[in-house]
């Protein structure tokens, strides 16, 4: 966008305006998504539990319930406990909130030659994971500064849990990165264009399992039940946010839902095709090759955006479903799950995917079966790439520099 704007104004101003627009869009997206998810959580949990959930606010289905709650929270008194470290106590929710929103900077919502992304980074996956990991600082600060023992317990649990789960999470993320050969999320997503068989989750049996491990670890690292130990309501009262009230408390809430959304979108880009739907509608409609800036290009990109948002929504709904079904694990069991199961499984899957790549380079599970000459090609090793029928992949293999950054 900055490149486009700089044709009309000074370059520095173009960059500032572009950044402002991106930030505005992202904040609105996360805030609206959080509102929708909180409403959705209430509705879904209500239906799961034989209740109706909210029904009144906003006419039908209580769709404005979250907004009403937000208004109520804004009017509440902003309490700060006597013994609290006032500065840290007040800043903690913002740290969490900024981390949750910051991750969206590098998340693409549509791919192609001119991707819809705030900042096209060639290390996008790394950036998202790193920024998501920052969220834990807000929680630890909150727990430490609250001057409450329950908060401290929550913070310590969060620290132990999130730090451990970053390990298997990172390993799971490395698998699609290795297959795609790039840390650039736009590249990873564009490689999965076409039918859903091209999705990395169906790339080989190892990625299939990795996707599940990733989702488990993602749930743990965003503190969703059954891993919600930091706020474990029946044990630690409310964990790290025991002492918070009003708007600051709601910032933690928004951060939680924001990061749920971002790990779901990350899952969709890494494993589930990102902006490429299960059926290549854009190809079938003849929109895929459209020139940047034309109407058909915009439609294709909008379809991609819808795909990403829908997949993120599905991921969040899955988390909601799990939360209202399962009991909570104990802290030692959470750590056992991470260190004894998730980490070795993720490592084994990484190894498996590596061997697959070595044996069947550039071949996914589904285009392995019908080809009888696959075995011949395999013997040629890495040369197979040139035989690949998928033209697009070749282009992508040339690397992010040539596909072009946004700015």
């Amino acid at each position: 966008m900055a490149a486009f704007l700089s044709e009309y104004t000074w370059t520095w101003l173009a960059y500032i305006i572009a950044a402002m627009i991106h930030v505005g869009l992202i904040i609105n997206l996360v805030a609206v998504a959080a509102l929708v998810f909180i409403w959705l959580e209430r509705k879904i949990s209500g239906r799961i539990q034989d209740r109706l959930g909210p029904t009144r606010v906003g006419g039908k289905f209580g769709w404005l319930q979250t907004l009403a709650d937000g208004l109520k929270l804004i009017t509440k008194e902003d309490l700060c406990p006597d013994g609290a470290d006032r500065f840290l106590f007040k800043i903690a929710p913002y740290v969490s909130f900024c981390a949750a929103i910051g991750a969206f900077i590098a998340i693409p919502f549509a791919g192609g030659a001119y991707p819809w992304i705030a900042q096209h980074l060639n290390t996008g996956v790394f950036f998202v994971l790193a920024v998501l990991g920052l969220e834990v600082f807000g929680v630890i600060l909150a727990g430490y500064s609250s001057a409450s023992k329950w908060s401290l317990f929550g913070a310590m649990r969060e620290a132990a849990q999130v730090v451990s789960y970053e390990v298997p999470l990172g390993m799971c993320v490395v698998v699609p990165v290795m297959i795609a050969g790039s840390l650039d999320m736009v590249v990873i997503g564009d490689q999965q264009a076409g039918w859903f068989t091209n999705w990395l989750v169906f790339h080989d049996p190892f990625t299939f399992i990795t996707a599940f491990v990733y989702f488990t670890c993602a749930m743990a690292s965003v503190n969703r039940a059954p891993f919600d130990l930091a706020e474990a309501e029946s044990e630690l009262v409310a964990g790290f946010h025991t002492e918070y009230s009003g708007l600051r408390w709601s910032f933690f809430f928004m951060a939680e839902y924001g990061s749920m959304f971002s790990v779901s979108i990350l899952a969709s880009v890494l494993f589930f095709g990102g902006w490429n739907g299960p059926v290549p509608i854009t190809d079938l409609l003849g929109l895929s090759g459209a020139e940047v800036g034309t109407l058909s290009w915009a439609v294709a990109q909008a379809l991609g955006l819808a795909n990403v948002l829908l997949k993120g929504l599905l991921g969040v709904c899955l988390m909601i479903w799990v939360r209202w079904t399962l009991p909570r694990l104990r802290i030692d069991q959470v750590m056992t799950t991470c260190l004894k199961y998730c980490t070795p499984i993720a490592a084994a899957m990484f190894l498996g995917a590596t061997l697959w790549q070595y044996n069947f380079p550039g071949r996914a599970f589904f285009n392995l079966i019908p080809m009888s000459d696959a075995v011949l090609e395999v013997s040629e090793g890495w040369e197979v790439e040139s035989n690949d029928p998928d033209e697009e992949e070749e282009q992508i293999a040339r690397g992010p520099e040539e596909t072009g950054g946004l700015l």
Binding site: Q49, R157, E233, S234, T325, P327, R330
Partner: protein, 401 residues
């Protein structure tokens, strides 16, 4: 896998840690009312638990010394408010024992139906809140959905939904309404298959088993030493149920009823229903078994209520008019324990010959059951405390009276 360590106060020599004193309650989501636990913890590991009670003390026993036995019935409602019918029964039978009064046949069966329904309602709350204690919210609402139907039945019978004062010395305040037993049977038929839902969500759930199996293991000897009763005692494999082993006046009520005491004997639970199997991680006397015994008792109570309805219809005499408000009590003292959902609830009554008792006293089962929490919680993790306290299924209204 057990979280217990030999002595939690022994810590690694190169790590200096301080013990922390934490107050759990009296305002805490999982202490089942206003129980306060003073925890001494080393990180997440508990080294000492001290329960503090008395936040809900309402001088119920002293009030009982100023009212006639029938007037005191509403106060018994408020002891175990989740099984008020069973509390009513305990006091009514104690008074009847002093008066040497024998209620008519129909009243006897009416009491069995009502009390078994009360037992189901109480165990449903115990089961649901246990789910919440372990972080699973949905079973709670599934349990309350069914409990609500029992409360509807109670409301139809006596007009109240929580504090019934229905069973009184003499019989009950009123006969069951016309068509009530039909509705009750319909409920029982509808309710029985629902229990499978609870088993799926909790009893056989892998995480639930992980959280409860081998946690808070109480040996049979310990269970007896601490004077526990009810599902807590039977969860340790001791076959003791006052409905079978109690005093004559109480067991006479269940005369002719077919039922088995739910307790694991020689590694087996009585096999008269389709129960889910005991997981191999579970150890006799742990939280899982206490929970399981409750679930099985629900099944048994359904059966007993059905038998009661049959006999109720067969009986031809009256439902038992309540005794007059002011009935002269014979001089003497009586003590009677009955099998309430939470355990053995005892009432003690001393009379000096007037219509008002000279002394009333209640022996709470939850009180004895709570006393085991100190040795059970020692050495466990903080997350296990709700699991252990929840499995004891205490009600503070009964402990503090």
């Amino acid at each position: 896998m057990s979280s217990l360590i030999d002595d939690p106060r022994v810590i690694e020599f190169d790590v200096r840690t301080d013990e922390m004193l934490v107050n759990m309650g009296p305002q805490h989501p999982s202490t089942h009312g206003v129980l306060r636990l003073a925890l001494r913890t080393d990180g997440e590991i508990i080294s000492e638990v001290t329960p503090h009670m008395g936040y809900l003390h309402r001088c119920a026993e002293k009030i009982g010394e100023n009212l006639t036995p029938r007037q005191w019935i509403p106060y018994t409602d408020r002891m175990d408010y989740l099984a008020a019918m069973n509390m009513n029964l305990g006091w009514a039978l104690t008074t009847e024992k002093l008066l040497k009064y024998e209620p008519p046949e129909k009243a006897r069966h009416l009491r069995v139906i009502i009390c078994e329904l009360g037992r189901i309602a109480s165990h449903l709350v115990g089961m649901g809140t246990y789910g919440i204690d372990l972080g699973s919210f949905s079973p709670f609402l599934y349990a309350f959905r069914e409990r609500e139907k029992i409360l509807d039945l109670f409301e139809e019978a006596c007009g109240a939904r929580l504090t019934y004062s229905y069973i009184t010395p003499g019989g009950a305040t009123a006969d069951l309404p016309v068509g009530w037993t039909q509705k009750c049977l319909e409920f029982l038929d509808q309710f029985e298959p629902v229990i499978a839902e609870y088993h799926t969500l909790l009893t056989t759930n892998a995480i639930f088993i992980k959280r409860t199996a081998n946690i808070g293991v109480m040996s049979p000897e310990m269970a007896i030493d601490f004077g526990t009763s009810g599902p807590v005692l039977r969860g340790s494999g001791i076959s003791h149920d006052l409905r079978r082993d109690g005093e004559e006046i109480y067991t006479a009520m269940y005369d002719g009823y077919a039922f088995e005491v739910i307790a694991q004997q020689n590694g087996h639970y009585p096999k008269d229903h389709n129960y889910p199997p005991v997981p191999k991680e579970a150890v006799l006397g742990d939280c899982w078994h206490r929970f399981y015994v409750r679930m099985l008792e629900v099944m048994q109570s359904i059966d007993l209520a059905r038998q009661g309805i049959e006999r109720y219809h067969a009986a031809t005499d009256g439902y038992g008019e309540p005794l007059k408000l002011k009935t002269k009590l014979p001089k003497g003292e009586v003590y009677l324990e009955t099998e309430c959902p939470k355990g053995q609830m005892g009432f003690y009554l001393v009379s000096d010959g007037s219509d008002i008792p000279w002394r009333t006293r209640a022996r709470s089962s939850s009180f004895s059951n709570l006393s085991v929490c100190e040795p059970l919680c020692r050495g466990c993790l903080i997350a296990d405390i709700p699991a252990i306290i929840g499995s004891l299924d205490i009600v503070m209204g009964e402990i503090d009276r």
